[in-house]
């Protein structure tokens, strides 16, 4: 069995196979369909470029975020080391005394 290329299988079932014979509207319809196709195609190309560019930007942002997270973790570790040192309570008490003396 061969496929008949003249049969449009995408037509909805029950739809009229013929249509209002109107050469002016047929012409307008066809011309506009071709324009719509061109516009849709240009939009797809534009969106594809923008998608690619946004994807690159996303990767860059993710990398920056990861690096910033690593820096933050380093800073937190350093801070914890300071807080856990034996000198830290003494330094804090001194700072407190100095603040009270200033008042």
């Amino acid at each position: 069995m061969t496929h008949d290329p003249t049969v449009d299988e995408s037509l909805a079932p029950g739809a009229a196979s013929g249509h209002g014979a109107d050469p002016q509207l047929d012409r307008i319809n066809l011309e506009q369909a071709l324009r719509d196709f061109e516009v849709a195609n240009r939009r797809v190309l534009d969106l594809a470029h923008r998608l690619a560019s946004m994807h690159a930007e996303l990767l860059q942002t993710r990398t920056e975020l990861s690096l910033t997270k690593i820096e933050l973790q380093d800073a937190q570790r350093f801070l914890n080391r300071i807080r856990q040192s034996r000198l830290f309570p003494l330094v804090r008490a001194l700072a407190q005394t100095r603040r009270m003396a200033k008042r």
């Binding site: 995408s10 037509l11 079932p13 029950g14 009229a16 249509h19 209002g20 509207l25 719509d36 516009v39």
Partner: protein
């Protein structure tokens, strides 16, 4: 207006067997004494078996131009076909309309008058019972308004009050919108990005505004619109939804201030005032033209009032209201003695005494009011007279 305008009325159809024939009939009954109107039915490849053939034959009988697209285009591209046909055919205006509407006889005359009242108007929409914020509130539009002569009477009544007056609105609705063909050339077509439809006319009117043109509603014309039934059936809308969220997102992205503008517009209260004014105008005209009844009592009867009826509910702080064909309006009386004789004020409103006064229950001032109103009185207690 000295020249006759040439209007292409493009009715977009997708199934809707129950409603389309009435819309086509009403289109054929539009008054063409002042302007030329050609009707074009654009069948967007309706899948309902046999429907397109039936519609084509109905159109042929009425000498209405009919076109069925070889494939389904979706609303925006089907509308574009109408816009392009009008532009290509040398028409001065194109009127885009849904197929679930009833057009009043004065439709074209009023929309053209509104459109030509200012040459920066790029679109004119009509009042309706079901057109978003441009709907005049009605209790039961299907039962009360789905009738061509009633719709035409309503439209004529609003014309008498507002003539060619227009108001600027945030966006148009294409259930029935008149666009001069110069505006099609200037603003362009509906954007096919809106797929099967919804929000394309919002985008179009916002584009027209960004070019400095006005988007308006004509106050002197009313079109009946059944609503979104066929779009739900076709899967275009979710059950119970009134719009397509993805399309709203596109509008939000393109016009970030649009929602705030609509909010500010609504908050101004101008539309609410106009709705109330329209209801009052309709009820007053009906009372004067067809006569009216008065119903009095603390326990007013519920139910629809098809004839003009003035309700005096003495238990209400806003005791005098009027109802007609599902429209409700307040006469703005409080019942205070400073206002003078309420009976006289009601007679002035109705242009004479009521046909009958229906007394549902009696209070201290009932007899005085009945005498002041005149007309024949019927006591209809809504509870048994005897225990």
């Amino acid at each position: 207006m000295t020249e006759r305008a040439r209007i292409l009325l493009a009715i977009t159809v997708y199934n809707g067997r129950d409603l389309v024939l009435a819309a086509v009939e009403s289109a054929c009954a539009i008054d063409t004494s002042t302007h030329d109107v050609n009707v074009l039915v654009l069948d967007d490849h309706s899948p309902d078996p046999g429907w397109s053939e039936e519609l084509a034959s109905v159109c042929a009988e009425r000498s209405v131009r009919y076109y069925c697209t070889p494939r389904n285009l979706g609303i925006p591209r089907n509308v574009n076909l109408g816009l392009l046909a009008a532009h290509d055919g040398g028409y001065s205006h194109v009127l885009i309309a849904n197929s679930d509407v009833l057009f009043p006889h004065n439709l074209v005359d009023r929309l053209i008058a509104a459109s030509e009242s200012d040459n920066s108007i790029a679109s004119v929409t009509a009042w309706s019972n079901n057109a978003g914020i441009y709907s005049i509130p009605n209790d039961d539009p299907v039962a009360c308004l789905r009738d061509l002569e009633r719709v035409s009477w309503l439209s004529e009544t609003l014309r008498d009050e507002y003539d060619d007056r227009t108001i600027d609105v945030p966006a148009g609705i294409s259930f029935c919108i008149l666009i001069p063909t110069w505006a099609v050339a200037e603003v362009g077509l509906m954007d096919p990005v809106f797929g099967r439809g919804y929000c394309e006319e919002t985008d179009w009117t916002l584009r027209s505004q960004s070019l400095g043109y006005r988007c308006t509603v004509a106050l002197g014309v009313f079109v009946y619109h059944a609503g979104q039934g066929s779009n739900e059936t076709a899967g275009l809308l979710r059950q119970g939804a009134t719009t397509v969220d993805q399309h709203e997102a596109i509008v939000d992205m393109r016009y970030p201030t649009f929602r705030a503008d609509v909010g500010a517009y609504m908050a101004s209260g101008m539309l609410d005032d106009l709705h109330a004014q329209c209801c009052l105008t309709i009820c007053r005209s009906a009372a004067r033209e067809f006569g009216y009844s008065v119903e009095m009592g603390r326990l007013s009867q519920s139910g629809s009032h098809i004839g003009p009826t003035i309700i005096i509910d003495t238990g209400d702080p806003d005791p005098v209201s009027v109802r007609y064909l599902g429209f409700n309006a307040s006469l703005g009386l409080t019942g205070s003695p400073d206002e003078g004789d309420i009976g006289l004020l009601i007679r002035e409103f109705g242009g004479g005494p009521p046909r009958d006064v229906n007394v549902l229950d009696r209070g201290p001032h009932t007899q005085d009011l009945v005498e002041s109103l005149g007309g024949s009185t019927v006591d209809t207690p809504i509870y048994p007279a005897r225990v």
